[in-house]
């Protein structure tokens, strides 16, 4: 072991892993030809993974951002092309129309026919022709030539790259890793939401661009020509990038900038310009391959390509976000390995669930690669040499927590009995959302560990409730607790390897874990059924209070209330308990240790704080809370599906929590308020008449905006607002003393210091 450790220097790892891959592939190829065939069919997917990974690497080199939206960019490019080629239309992202508000107000006033101009959704550039095929069916001819559609798409992608740079990532240059990750997650959400708005989430069929007649290789192996071409193109791009970065001043400057921003200045380039150029190059690259690769499966949908971000991140990570050659080799290898796993999954020895090959193992592969790379390489991963001048948001200690919690909780409970079903449901949704946000406050807000798997852990809670507790007739309060404990186990399993990684790498690990959990468990028909794992309604001492158990008001004699308000009461009780627990956490020694770890790991260690222990504890506590939330969510929906408990929902929940205010309990409250289906969505749909399709879009945009403008979140902004008002009203709270560490007004000592310094 020590020998391996001393021999296996970090620098050798990519080569070693790539070598192992190569040998395995070679052995398999030599073994038999049907396997070779399968591997060959993975080439196209591999090329796309490689292209997305190259795009990630370019971004990282140029601006130090690990772009979680790189897969989404590829998908977006595919759709831009699709819209142009098939319909001759360039779709526009939704642009807020101030007139819509006026319209809404007039509609409220009663004049439903009133209409003001709308911002167009599509710009029509060409009209599809029609032709009559055999048997007299009318078929639609593509509206635009391939080259024209391609050209316009690439221009759009380049503009997008510029926009990303100038509007999002340039303002975030000096922001903490968390803010950058959050912004790229926001971008991911926005791009996906835009596509779903414009094209719906169902798959569209697309016609091929590259010729697809098979190429015949020896031993009867056939490779479709389009896949071969894709691989050749990606190899050419890789060679080009390699040469560019090795020999040109531009490449040298980018490399220099990625080590140390001064380096680029010395070479006469502004780091800012380099970042911009690299953003354009990376979006064009990812989008171009999205366009070319989408037709391989004959269809395009908003999810498939987007989620290739996980293997792409694995490839980029293995290549340390720097070597283009290793990136591409790993990307291709992952594509081929995926397709090989699919082939061997019908072998008798392959892991089975109810006689069916276990799905999701193909997703587990990139996850394994990521875990192994990070575990072996640990701390030696690159951190970019720019100064972070912005910190994580301040984590205030809640004041008057008990009375506030009681007052709000009781108010919510009372409301539940008087509002209409729509509002009752939205209150329940918000309450459940608050629980997930609370779990993120502990892990991300207090300890600074970015988790993109909290909803997957929540799903574990719900799944355990369904499969273990319900199946073995474990009664109510113990079922959810068991679920929460199961989430803790999985959370710790994912958390322990994460001890060696920090910042963005942790986000990568947890996201890969979420995808794996989602596909292995929740989307596995053998375990979760086709409609997800069903969850039985809770009851205590014969009192049924599941959301769908109607409850009749005493003496009312009317029909039962649905959803059952008592379920909401139960959720509110859980939220109140958890709120007080998390508030106490912040006030107690463990909370101080957590914030110490967040602020400065080595100083924490020197103060005798166990950094690893504190992180593990945070992972455990957060997983417990998430698992509990998942169990409640299971009750709420009656089932656990991959739709609600997967990788993308985990991202979205990070967005809500961050938007609300990631480092405070009040932020989690706000986060719950704004979750999809929560109170704010209902306000939007019922009062403002904004379609709930826009919720996600708004959340994504809000997330990016928040990452740039105000890392304290809505709750933080409210706090500052209150302080401001108080000060204006001349009731400034004292600026020192233990009671008010979050006070913004300078206290006597601070002013004294300032004077002394002057």
């Amino acid at each position: 072991m020590t020998f391996v450790r001393s021999w296996l220097t970090p620098k050798k790892i990519p080569a070693v892993v790539a070598g192992i891959f190569g040998v395995v592939v070679l052995v398999v190829i030599l073994a038999n030809s049907d396997q070779t065939q399968a591997i060959a069919l993975g080439l196209g997917g591999g090329a796309l993974i490689a292209a997305i990974a190259l795009s990630i690497t370019l971004n990282y080199q140029g601006s130090g951002v690990v772009n979680f939206a790189a897969g989404a960019v590829a998908m977006y490019g595919g759709y831009v092309y699709y819209g142009l080629r098939v319909n001759g239309q360039l779709f526009l992202p939704p642009i807020p129309n101030p007139l819509a508000l006026v319209e809404g107000v007039v509609h409220l006033a009663g004049d439903k026919a009133f209409s003001l101009p709308h911002i167009p959704v599509f710009i029509t550039l060409a009209h599809p022709g029609t032709g009559t095929a055999a048997y007299g069916t009318v078929i639609q001819q593509p509206a635009m030539a391939v080259w024209a559609a391609m050209l316009i798409s690439l221009v759009v992608l380049a503009l997008l790259g510029l926009a990303f740079h100038f509007l999002i990532f340039r303002p975030l240059r000096r922001a903490p890793v968390l803010a950058k990750v959050v912004a790229s997650v926001g971008l991911f959400i926005v791009m996906q939401a835009v596509i779903v708005l414009r094209f719906t989430s169902s798959a569209k069929s697309v016609s091929p661009i590259l010729p697809s007649s098979p190429l015949h290789l020896p031993r009867g192996v056939r490779v479709p020509e389009d896949q071969t071409l894709l691989v050749l193109i990606v190899i050419a791009v890789t060679a080009g990038l390699w040469a560019l970065f090795r020999f040109s001043r531009f490449g040298l400057a980018t490399r220099a900038a990625s080590e140390n921003e001064k380096g680029a200045l010395v070479l006469g380039y502004s780091p800012d310009m380099l970042a911009g150029v690299n953003w354009v190059a990376s979006t064009v690259l990812a989008g171009f391959f999205g366009i070319l690769a989408a037709p391989i499966n004959q269809s395009i949908d908003p999810i498939t390509i987007t989620l290739l971000i996980v293997p792409a991140l694995a490839a980029a990570l293995l290549a340390r976000f720097s070597s283009f050659v290793v990136t591409t080799a790993t990307g291709l290898a992952l594509g081929m390995a995926t397709s090989w796993i699919q082939l061997i999954s019908n072998k008798s020895w392959f892991p089975k669930a109810s006689g069916q090959a276990l799905p999701g193992l193909t997703d587990a592969l990139p996850f394994l690669v990521i875990i192994i790379v990070l575990a072996v390489r640990g701390k030696s991963l690159p951190t970019r040499g720019s100064i972070e001048t912005v910190k994580l948001p301040f984590a205030p200690r809640a004041r008057a927590a008990v009375p506030t919690t009681l007052a709000l909780g009781i108010a919510a409970m009372v409301l539940l009995f008087f509002v209409t079903p729509v509002w009752r449901l939205s209150i329940v949704n918000s309450l459940v959302g608050m629980i997930i946000c609370l779990s993120l406050v502990v892990l991300t807000g207090y300890v600074g560990q970015i988790s993109l798997m909290q909803m997957a852990l929540a799903g574990i809670g719900g799944f355990t409730l369904s499969k273990v507790a319900d199946a073995h007739h474990i009664p109510f309060p113990f079922g959810p607790l068991l679920g929460a404990l199961a989430a803790v186990v999985i959370g710790l399993l994912a958390g322990v390897p994460a001890l060696r990684v920090r910042g963005v790498n942790l986000a990568v690990v947890t996201f890969a874990a979420a995808v794996t959990i989602q596909n292995l468990i929740f989307a596995n028909p053998a375990w979760s059924g086709l409609k997800g794992a069903s969850v039985k309604a809770p009851s205590l001492f014969g009192f049924h209070f599941g959301p769908n158990d109607p409850w009749t008001k005493p003496f009312s004699g009317g029909r039962g209330l649905l959803p059952n308000p008592w379920f909401g009461v139960f959720c509110a009780l859980v939220v109140m308990v958890l709120v007080l627990v998390v508030v106490n956490l912040r006030r107690s020694r463990i909370g101080r240790h957590m914030l110490a770890v967040r602020a400065n790991e080595r100083a924490a260690a020197a103060a005798g704080v166990s950094v690893a222990g504190t992180k593990i504890l945070a992972f455990g506590v957060a997983a417990f809370i998430a698992g509990l939330g998942g169990a409640l969510s299971g009750y709420r929906f009656g089932s656990v599906t991959s739709l609600y408990f997967g990788a993308i929902p985990s991202m979205i929940f990070l967005a809500y929590a961050y938007l609300g205010g990631i480092s405070s309990v009040s932020g989690a409250m706000v986060g719950g308020f704004i979750v999809a289906g929560g109170i704010s969505t209902t306000i939007m749909t019922n009062w403002l008449h904004i379609s709930d399709q826009y919720t996600l879009l708004l959340a994504g945009i809000g997330l990016i905006f928040m990452a740039i403008q105000n890392p304290k979140g809505v709750a933080g902004a409210l706090r500052d607002g209150v302080h401001l008002v108080r000060r204006r009203m001349g009731r400034a709270t004292p600026g020192h003393g233990l009671s008010s560490p979050d006070d913004v007004s300078p206290g006597p000592l601070q002013s004294a210091t300032a004077e002394a310094g002057a």
Binding site: K391, L392, F394, A395, V581, N584, L585, R587, S588, R589, I590, R592, H593, L595, A596, R598, A599, N600, R602, A603, A604, A605, A606, A607, G608, V609, S610, V611, G613, L617, H736, G737, L738, S739, S740, P741, P746, G747, P748, L749, Q750, T753, A756, G757
Partner: protein, 269 residues
């Protein structure tokens, strides 16, 4: 009997040997100084002793070989340190900074804290703050303090952990002469009270007056050791500080100099 000692301590950054075969001893209740020009390897020595860089050789603390201990374990064993650049927990108040160092977490305490956080006895920490003239600062965030005050909070935090040995990395940097002398007296009184200290500082006047024993490093190499009187007289030390190998501008840029070298000469003269 030495409470802290190193045997053949070595630290290499790539090909560069930042510390080379360095053995030192800090006796119980002794105040030992570690001096040397910029980049001599002083901070690296403390990092190696407290477990923050991988090192060769051995570190013995309180009779045990702690070379394989993690930095946290060393801290818990009673080996404290301060940092050249304070490294405070900026999200916590000054008092909370001290509390982090003073408190240990156990399972029972953790569960109890979730239900009802305990109000800790803060009197000891208040006393530490008072003794460093930080009385009013308890509820303030470190970011609102002056540089000198931040350094003092760093010292206070290290003291709050009740260490047996304290390694201090330039605690007086950034303090004015008066403050620095006050800090020196405070350190001396801690040592007289039984604490053992390994002190790095560029203020020769301070180091030469309060230390019991001194080690002098240059380019990672021990070039002299002895009592302050012996060090004052040591030719190699004087060349190390005045020799042409260390540019004037570098010394100035690091805020060290002139004054301390002249101190040294005064001392000699």
């Amino acid at each position: 009997m030495a409470v802290l000692s190193t045997q053949g301590l070595g630290v290499a950054f790539g090909a560069k040997k930042a510390v080379n075969d360095f053995s030192l001893e800090v006796g119980e209740g002794q105040l030992v100084g570690l001096i040397g020009p910029n980049g001599a390897g002083k901070t690296t020595t403390i990092d190696a002793i407290t477990g923050f860089v991988p090192a060769t050789g051995a570190v013995t603390f309180d009779g045990t070989d702690i070379s394989s201990f993690s930095s946290t374990q060393r801290a818990r064993a009673g080996l404290g340190r301060t940092w050249q650049s304070s490294e405070l927990f900026d999200d916590l108040t000054v008092m909370e900074n001290l509390q982090v160092a003073a408190e240990r977490i156990d399972v029972k305490g953790f569960l109890r804290d979730l239900v009802r956080p305990r109000n800790d006895d803060l009197s000891e920490m208040e006393a530490i703050l008072d003794s460093l003239e930080l009385t009013g600062a308890a509820g303030v965030l470190p970011t609102d303090l002056s540089h000198g005050q931040r350094k003092l909070v760093g010292v206070a935090r290290a003291l709050a952990a009740r260490p047996k040995v304290l390694c201090m990395d330039e605690p007086a940097a950034g303090l004015d002469t008066e403050e620095s002398q006050a800090l020196g007296r405070r350190i001396r009184s801690l040592v007289d009270g039984g604490l053992s200290v390994l002190l790095i500082d560029h203020d020769m006047g301070l180091v030469l007056t309060i230390c019991d024993y001194l080690y002098v490093l240059d380019f990672g190499q021990l070039i002299a050791e002895g009592t302050p009187a012996q060090i004052r007289a040591d030719k190699r030390v004087i060349t190390a500080y005045l020799g042409d190998r260390h540019g004037e501008s570098e010394a100035e840029a690091n805020g060290m100099p002139e004054a301390s070298t002249s101190n040294l000469q005064e001392g000699e003269g």
